[in-house]
Amino acid sequence: MAASKASRIGEEIWKTRIDKVNAELVTLTYGTIVAQLCKDFEDDYPEVNRQLDKMGYNIGLRLIEDYLAKSNTMKRCSNFRETADMISRVGFKIFLNITPQVTNWTADNNSFSLVFDENPFADFVELPDDGRAQNELWYSNILCGVLRGALEMVQMQVEAHFISDVLRGNDTTEMRVTLIRYIDDELPPEDD
């Protein structure tokens, strides 16, 4: 499916089928979660990243069903490039009203970057000035988990992680997504 068609679908669903919520409510709710995790794990940022990823994973497992229902998707994407376009132009569009750029493809078409020009989670945010958060905390790491969980449900095992974040002082916020493998159908157990 062409990228422009995906954009149209995303736009259409966003306009007609999505209940909107106040953006600041989202930002503040997400911020509270991250802050609480930092507190609970005593500023062990790698652990906070892991917890965010895990929470996202559990969200993704469910969110994919809502995505499929809202987008009326009846069949699989035919290749990973199409998947990437649908993630950005339909998935991110309908749930967060953003369309990260899909870019930096590897030659084998198995790995791409999502570059976030805007990120509703990170509005108003400044990372703690403790000399470590800037290097260790991936503030929006929940998104990696969401992608991993959602794609697993449609039989794609992927690995996702942030490689830069404007909150850390980088020029862009960039997430790297890599396809590990397509998961085979599960077979019914053999009769004894």
């Binding site: 469910r62 499929l68 009846m74 449609v154 019914p188």
Partner: protein
């Protein structure tokens, strides 16, 4: 149109929901003899799974198995991209129920089962599926068709 029974199978091939609308058997009527025992779910899954694979083998990966018909009943099948499978058994005269199964997925499964924050993600043994909203919604929807 008469709906006899309805099944949902998850991606682990387990039957997570069964419902039957079989009228009580009246002697001397022509109602078909369809059993709804517990082994049926397994048999049905085996059948639709094989048919789906065969259809894809012959017709390409985008082809979908939709239904089959016997002298007594018609079986309808719909599979979501997340490998959730819906099966409905109706009388032989009914039109395609693919759209109906799709609607059940969108309006009942996603709304009442997936979005229930306290229901488990995996529905082992049917856990979390037979909640009241889903149950009532499904029954109303199916009765509205008949």
């Amino acid at each position: 149109m008469v709906v006899y029974s309805f099944y949902i199978f998850d991606r682990h091939t387990e039957c997570v929901y069964v419902k039957s609308w079989m009228p009580p058997q009246v002697p001397g009527t022509a109602a078909p003899v369809l059993s709804t025992g517990s082994d049926d779910a397994k048999l049905i899954f085996g059948t639709v799974f094989s048919l789906r694979n065969m259809v894809r083998k012959l017709g390409g990966d985008d082809d979908a198995f939709i239904s089959y018909r016997t002298g007594q009943y018609k079986l309808h099948f719909y599979e979501t991209p997340a490998n959730l499978r819906f099966v409905m058994i109706t009388d032989t005269g009914s039109a395609s129920m693919r759209n109906v199964l799709h609607q059940i997925y969108i309006n009942l499964w996603v709304e009442y089962v997936v979005k229930n924050p306290l229901a488990p993600v995996e529905h082992k043994g049917g856990a979390g599926v037979n909640n009241e909203l889903f149950e009532l919604g499904l029954d109303q929807f199916i009765r509205g068709l008949m």
